[in-house]
């Protein structure tokens, strides 16, 4: 490859100068590492926005009656909170940030297969976000919930077209990333890296990318049809014209259930990276973990109906879906067992990434096990659409994806920025965050069992107690997250410099290159001869 040239060697990707300078040098760069960081910064901004909306909702719910806002504002808030958190943060989340940054590094490639497409997908992502946000100026914030259920989504007086269209555009970004990753993994693994020598994070990205490619078009067409319904009145989901609102729900969840595995699989990959490194021990059950990822991706397509147990579907469909839902829990269980076994007889290095990783296992178990309650027919009827569900998915989306995101950030931080964060503050932040998290969401399970419906702006006095505790937890948690973020942001500029290639003693390829990596990642193309995670 004659393109490699000496001037760029040993210049970190953060510093090199290309055709463009400054900001342009970032937003026009096709370097996978810069694209990854672009995603990271964009997400930080919108994550904070949506987290503040979450906090405001909790403040509203601290007491019955009106506390700080009216019902229309509240409804708009959970909708925007949900749309941002799902479509803008956790669905692209780990693949777009860490996948972009580390996938080529971990498989010994110089970049992803289609670097320009990769940059394009960031641009599409930003355009999608702007479209969603433009609803503020064209007819007010959407108020349908992130599920846009028909027929309310064509009846609401608010103009929800920008939100629908924005989510549609965001889907394209997701598809482009997925295509890019699959091709990268098929074509660009370095010499010696057979499929079963590939590390686990790329493996989960592979499974995720397939879901992105095969499920996202479903939401695309569903949203498009909803747009057409509102604009032209084609009648496809409109009961007044013969359409079937339940069919809308089918289509929505045919995407959105696989989408929850888009959210969690890369997170599981991160945990599978961190545990062996901090246990100084080879991962237990490498193949089982790989196969379970693929199994989750596959079976995950056929369980969507568990979101519709009370929707008026036929009874036979209900138990088929319940049955399949239980089956999809098994691969997750296999992963948990293998992770715990990895720690057995290890030599555990108790550092911040490790704390985030084990707390991930804990909250993921709570989220997943309550998923079983939801998947069982009799109990679902009682807790469906109550705060029990809200608690389930915050535990698993925020607890699962969010915690693994934080774990990944602390794990790869030195490699990405060439600096180290303050470990004491990082651990303090984690403790406060973790306890705030439990205080915030555990009471919601109880509220749900009592029967408090979700998307309720106001509630009966008997639900007051749980809500107070939960709201206080939200405040504690914000404190924790502030500590964590301030520490990371400060350290990315002023932290202690790291120059060694491999501060944690990892075995995967990203630790064999410079810190931070150079433009083309490698001076000489790496070759692989053994399994990842082979500690001696």
């Amino acid at each position: 490859m004659s393109e490699t040239n000496t001037t760029n060697q040993h210049v970190s990707f953060l510093k090199y100068q290309g055709k463009y300078k400054g900001l342009l040098g970032w937003i026009l760069s096709t370097d996978h590492k810069r694209v990854g960081l672009l995603y990271l910064y964009t997400m930080l901004v919108f994550f904070s926005t949506a987290a503040i909306l979450g906090l405001l909702m909790k403040l509203e719910l601290i007491a019955p009656g009106m506390t700080i806002m009216g019902p229309q504002t509240y409804n708009a808030m959970f909708t925007v909170h949900g749309i941002i958190m799902i479509f803008i943060i956790v669905v692209p989340g780990l693949p777009a940030v860490f996948g972009n940054f580390f996938l080529p590094l971990m498989i010994g490639a110089k970049d992803v297969a289609f670097p320009r497409l990769n940059l394009l997908s960031w641009w599409v992502y930003v355009i999608g976000i702007l479209t969603v946000l433009s609803s503020q100026f064209i007819g007010g914030w959407p108020d349908t919930g992130w599920t846009f259920y028909a027929p309310y989504s064509f009846r609401t007086p608010v103009n929800i077209l920008p939100a629908l269209f924005g989510a549609f555009i965001l889907g394209f970004s997701s598809i482009l990333t997925g295509i890019n990753f699959i091709v990268t993994m098929h074509r660009m693994r370095c010499p010696g890296m057979t499929w079963f020598k590939m590390p686990l994070f790329p493996w989960t990205l592979y499974a995720t990318a397939w879901i992105q490619v095969l499920a996202t078009p479903v939401i695309g067409i569903t949203l498009l049809l909803t747009v057409m319904e509102r604009v032209m009145g084609v009648g496809i989901f409109n009961p007044a014209m013969g359409g079937d609102p339940i069919l809308y729900q089918h289509l929505f969840w045919i995407y959105s259930h696989p989408a929850v595995y888009i959210m969690i699989l890369p997170g599981m990959g991160v945990i599978s990276e961190i545990l062996p490194v901090f246990s100084r021990k080879r991962i237990y059950g490498y193949k089982a973990i790989v196969l379970s990822s693929l199994a989750i991706a596959f079976v995950g397509y056929f369980v969507w109906g568990h979101h519709m147990f009370t929707s008026g579907m036929s009874g036979r469909a209900l138990y088929a879906f319940s049955f399949l839902t239980f089956l999809v829990a098994i691969p997750s269980a296999i992963k948990v067992f293998n992770w715990v076994s990895t720690m057995y007889k290890g030599s555990l290095n108790l550092q911040t990434p490790f704390y985030w990783a084990v707390s991930f296992i804990f909250v993921f178990m709570i989220g997943g096990l309550t998923g079983l309650v939801l998947g069982s027919l009799a109990t679902n009827v009682h807790v469906h659409d109550t705060h029990f569900v809200v608690a389930h998915f915050h535990f698993i989306v925020f607890g699962g994806t969010g915690f693994s995101f934080m774990a990944a950030l602390h794990y790869w931080f030195p490699k990405m920025f060439g600096r180290m964060y303050d470990r004491t503050w990082a651990n303090t932040g984690w403790v406060i965050f973790f306890s705030g998290f439990l205080t915030l969401y555990l009471p919601m399970f109880y509220l749900g069992i009592l029967g408090m419906p979700r998307r309720y702006y106001d509630y009966l006095p008997e639900f007051h107690g749980g809500n107070i505790i939960s709201s206080l937890g939200a405040i504690a948690m914000i404190a924790g997250i502030l500590i964590v973020f301030v520490n990371l942001i400060r350290s990315s500029r002023h932290g202690e410099k790291v120059t060694e290639k491999n501060p944690w003693g990892g075995r995967t390829l990203e630790w064999q290159t410079d810190t931070p990596p150079t433009l083309e990642n490698w001076e000489t193309e790496p070759t692989v001869t053994e399994q990842p995670y082979e500690y001696k």
Binding site: I175, G178, V213, L247
Partner: protein, 206 residues
């Protein structure tokens, strides 16, 4: 020494990879239309009679004509790839031009077909349609949505053909590097593939 200042970290050529990428994109399209077929299946199942009657409203002759010309255009695009592989540039351009022409003819036919329906008062949310009952509304709703999205794909295809045509003219696409042509060809076959199912479902099954 442009290369040094080039921001693109690393550009390499991998035709097989490009084709894999195109196939993955085709899968997304297949599922997108797949879901429309799913909606069709459900509503047909729920309104069998209305769907049969609806099908009789459509012009089988126009439909068959469009099917045949679309098939021919698929063949010409495939042949233009063969021509390119053999290095016969002029032949490739002629074949591609034919495809382009047929694509336009297809749209013109569609235009007349839709125009006749609309003159008749059969378009989404029209009073005539709503009077005909739920099943018919759905049939025509789906008819417009599905053939409309299909026509949109034809339109995109036309754009791609124009682009590829230019690339061949300036020898960017040539005997050794023609993956763009192949991929556009794949895309066009996909458009054909979908029509192969749309045609019987809307025009034939009564």
């Amino acid at each position: 020494m442009e290369k040094i200042t080039e921001h693109t970290a690393h550009v390499h050529r991998d035709d097989e990879g490009d084709k894999l990428g195109m196939w993955l994109f085709i899968f997304t399209e297949l599922l997108l239309f797949g879901m429309l077929f799913l909606i069709y299946a459900v509503y047909r199942y729920k309104n069998p009679v209305a769907f049969q009657l609806g099908g009789e409203e459509l012009d089988v002759f126009l439909g068959t004509l469009n099917t045949v010309i679309l098939l021919i255009s698929s063949a010409t695009v495939a042949m233009s790839i063969t021509a390119m592989q053999k290095g016969e540039k002029t032949k490739a351009l002629i074949l591609l031009g034919t495809t382009l022409f047929i694509a336009v003819v297809f749209l013109i036919n569609k235009w007349f077909e839709w125009g006749a329906k609309i003159d008749y008062g059969l378009y989404p949310n029209s009073e005539n349609l709503l009077e005909l009952g739920h099943g018919t509304t759905l049939f025509f709703g789906l008819y417009y949505v599905m053939s409309g999205i299909h026509a949109l794909h034809i339109l995109i295809g036309i754009g791609l053909f124009v682009f590829v045509y230019r690339q061949i003219m300036v020898n960017k696409i040539n005997k050794t590097d023609y993956v763009w042509l192949e991929n556009v060809g794949l895309y066009w076959h996909l458009v054909d593939l979908i029509w192969i199912f749309l045609f019987p479902l809307f025009y034939l099954i009564h």
